[in-house]
């Protein structure tokens, strides 16, 4: 293939990708524009409100009032709560799952197979089935309407333990662990110094999955938490939706606020996320 052909192919490919990227971004553009529209203009045009301005758009009708109204309602409290719940769950769940996965994968002890079976068994239990007994357990422990009541059940997900068990089996050679033990490393040091760096792609991917999972978690906070000051963004946004009428401008502004932090985090972690997801995807 000649250089000119290669360039043409590349240009065609880039054009196609730009078109696809544009299509992908349309909903986000709609969301941002909708968040800048008032209630009266919300249904007046698909994107921009019609008006007398440039391109027949009512530029003067775009406003930041929805964002102001949002923070007047105390939305920042829910934003901070969401960040706290998601960050805490992501960090602690990753650490606990990685440590448990390492132990199950590389340590031989009595009952190991049984524990692995329990973890696998837990994977097939639908979370919805656990709502009622989980609620009762939290009540018995006095953890209803507490941060611990929300976080504790999510700190050691069976999916994460199994994922890290597989990652350790695949990425951490026994010889490396034996060499570290010969050098005098304790089991904690082996975990921190040898195992964790080798699991780096999986840590990034799992942390992002857990962060997003908690960020979007709606039903658990609704069930466990009662006080309005403790509710995360997902619940606060749902409460903006009225039964009889909804201020869609306010709702879309809240959605933008809830999307931005996770979008930024994804951009930051995307390399680890993708490499974590593709680990083991290619037979070596």
């Amino acid at each position: 293939m000649s250089a000119t052909n290669r360039k043409l192919n590349k240009a065609a490919l880039h054009t196609l990708l730009i078109v696809l990227a544009f299509i992908t971004l349309i909903p986000y553009a709609w969301l941002i524009i909708a968040s800048l529209k008032g209630q009266d203009d919300f249904f007046s045009g698909i994107f921009f409100p019609p008006g007398e301005g440039f391109l027949g758009i009512g530029w003067d009708k775009l406003t930041l009032n929805n964002y102001r109204a949002l923070f007047d309602l105390g939305f920042e409290v829910n934003l901070i709560n969401s960040i706290f719940y998601s960050a805490a769950t992501a960090l602690f769940a990753t650490f606990i799952c990685a440590a448990t996965g390492f132990v199950i994968a590389k340590h031989h002890f009595r009952g190991r197979n049984f524990i692995t079976l329990v973890v696998l068994g837990a994977l097939i239990v639908p979370p919805t089935l656990l709502l009622a007994p989980g609620y009762e357990l939290l009540y018995d422990l006095g953890l209803l309407d507490t941060v611990w009541g929300l976080l504790l059940p999510l700190l050691a997900p069976a999916f994460g333990v199994f994922l890290f068990r597989q990652a350790v089996i695949q990425s951490v050679p026994d010889e490396l662990l034996e060499a570290a033990r010969i050098d005098g490393c304790s089991e904690w040091s082996i975990f921190f110094v040898v195992v964790l760096p080798l699991l780096r792609p999986m840590i990034g991917a799992f942390m992002l999955i857990t962060f997003l999972g908690m960020w979007n978690n709606f039903i658990s906070p609704q069930i466990v938490l009662q006080t309005a000051d403790k509710q995360p963004l997902s619940v606060a946004i749902a409460q903006l939706r009225g039964v009889y009428k909804t201020d869609y401008g306010l709702l879309t502004a809240a959605t933008v606020v809830s999307v931005l932090p996770v979008a930024a985090l994804f951009l930051l972690l995307q390399k680890q996320f993708i490499s974590g997801l593709t680990t083991g995807a290619v037979k070596g």
């Binding site: 960040i83 039903i219 930051l268």
Partner: protein
């Protein structure tokens, strides 16, 4: 020291994202720690509607100024109320002191024997205080089991027909003369012409479709169709239900259908309303406020009238939706909760606010004399719509409180879908032609419901004679 250095070096190998999340955790923890915790109230009140909560707050604040008590209102989704309430009832755990429960959720709690229902039986209190007679009687029905009342009704939700009076009046059609659906459709035939040659009628008489479960239920209730008896026995397979099913399907099909599918909630549906794709819309009282907010383009174009009846002299209204206020048995503050319940559900101020904010009329009959209901509404060409809804309120059909009603209504919708498919395949569009198939489908639905009820050990006693009765 060496070990610590190694650990730090190893942690440094973690990605920047991990450190960002760690920083977010530290920062958010600090912000939460410096935040002042809010005071806990003496009583808890769960509501699913932010609009309701907004109306109650001023009333509660005034009450609490003169009474040494504090009520916390928590707004939750219906799903969360259902999960927490049912978990509480099944596990014997405390819930809230007061719960506002929506029509689709409340019957879940009526599953077992009457003594196992988690809500307090309010019947004796209502009788003692003379409140029972004050409520619109049919509005108590969805919250009652075997004549015992487990919740105060929040609303009546009578249904009228909203129609494009700007178009009908310009065409010289007086729809108020239409007493039956047949007359209504006949009067609107002239407007169904296809003058713009787009292959569709310019206007279709009614916004309704055989897949819209809520509208099916509303119209079946209007036509005295019943899915359950007052004692909770299924009566799905009846001649009346088959007739209604066949009639409603016939409206949507055939060479010139009189009903059109317009989404009630989407922007496309709102645009179709503005464009008068349909002339008439089924309108419970709460729908008025939704239109005012989301379809302001309809201002001054709609008028309301009682629903045309299925037969001459038949019922001219129906009912759609509903909410009750309940006091769970687990409350430790029943007396205080009862005082709040009466304050919020029988006060003229809240009733007035309810109508002004969301166009809902109160179920308390003594409040119906309030002048607010006589105010002309510019959205509906200055009709005194509050009064019109009130006049229909005593005639709304009775609704069952059966926990199986929701699923049975879904089954009926599915049956309508199958009947429509059959009608299209066989090219049969007259109700009489569809009756045999409708009967067959309803019989299947009846059996399904009975099987479902048989799984409930509590329902078996009641179910035994049902099959015989319903045949």
């Amino acid at each position: 020291m060496h070990r610590l250095t190694n650990t730090i070096l190893a942690l440094r190998a973690l990605s920047s994202g991990v450190w960002v999340i760690a920083c977010l955790l530290i920062l958010s923890t600090l912000l939460i720690l410096v935040r002042k915790p809010s005071d806990q109230g003496d009583l808890q009140f769960w509501v699913y509607s932010p609009e309701h909560a907004k109306m109650y707050v001023p009333m509660i604040e005034r009450y609490e100024q003169s009474n040494d008590v504090k009520l916390d209102i928590t707004i939750m989704s219906n799903a969360a109320i259902q999960s927490r309430m049912m978990s509480g009832f099944f596990g014997g755990l405390p819930t809230a002191d007061l719960i506002e429960v929506e029509k689709a959720v409340a019957p879940q709690a009526f599953m077992g024997p009457i003594e196992a229902i988690g809500f307090t039986d309010l019947t004796d209190m209502l009788v003692q205080e003379g409140l029972l007679e004050q409520f619109n009687q049919p509005s108590l029905n969805p919250w009652s089991v075997d004549g015992r009342v487990f919740g105060l009704p929040h609303d009546v939700h009578p249904v009228m027909l909203a129609y494009r009076a700007d178009i009908t009046e310009a065409a010289g059609i007086d729809l108020t003369q239409a007493e039956t659906w047949d007359e209504y459709f006949a009067m609107l035939r002239p407007l169904m012409a296809d003058t713009d040659d787009d292959g569709k009628p310019d206007h279709t008489p009614l916004s309704f479709w055989y897949t819209n479960q809520d509208l099916i239920e509303t119209l079946m209730l209007q036509g005295d169709g019943q899915l359950f008896t007052s004692s909770g026995q299924p009566t799905i397979h009846t001649e009346r239900n088959a007739h209604l099913l066949a009639t409603l399907v016939s409206w949507c099909l055939g060479p010139q259908p009189v009903a059109v599918d317009i989404n009630e909630w989407s922007a496309a549906g709102h645009k179709a309303k503005v464009d008068a794709v349909a002339i008439g819309y089924i309108a419970p009282d709460w729908m008025c406020s939704i239109w005012k907010m989301h379809v302001p383009g309809l201002t001054g174009k709609l008028k309301l009238m009682p629903l045309p009846a299925f037969e001459p002299g038949g019922r001219r209204t129906s009912v759609r939706g509903g909410t009750m206020l309940s006091i769970p048995k687990t409350t430790e503050h029943f007396d205080r909760a009862w005082e709040y319940a009466k304050l919020l559900y029988t006060s003229p101020q809240v009733a007035r606010e309810l109508y002004r904010e969301v166009d809902i009329i109160s179920p308390v009959k003594s409040l119906w004399n309030d002048p607010v209901y006589d105010e002309p509404d510019p959205f509906f060409m200055n009709q005194r719509k509050g009064r019109m809804y009130i006049e229909l309120a005593p005639n709304i059909p009775l609704r069952p409180s059966s926990p199986y009603n929701k699923q049975a209504a879904i089954d009926v919708r599915d049956a309508m879908g199958r009947l429509a498919k059959y009608a299209k395949e066989q090219e049969l569009y007259e109700p009489e032609q569809l009756m045999p198939k409708a009967r067959e489908l309803l019989e299947t639905m009846q059996r399904q419901t009975e099987r479902r009820m048989e799984r409930n050990a509590f329902a078996q006693e009641d179910l035994a004679p049902i099959s015989e009765d319903s045949q």
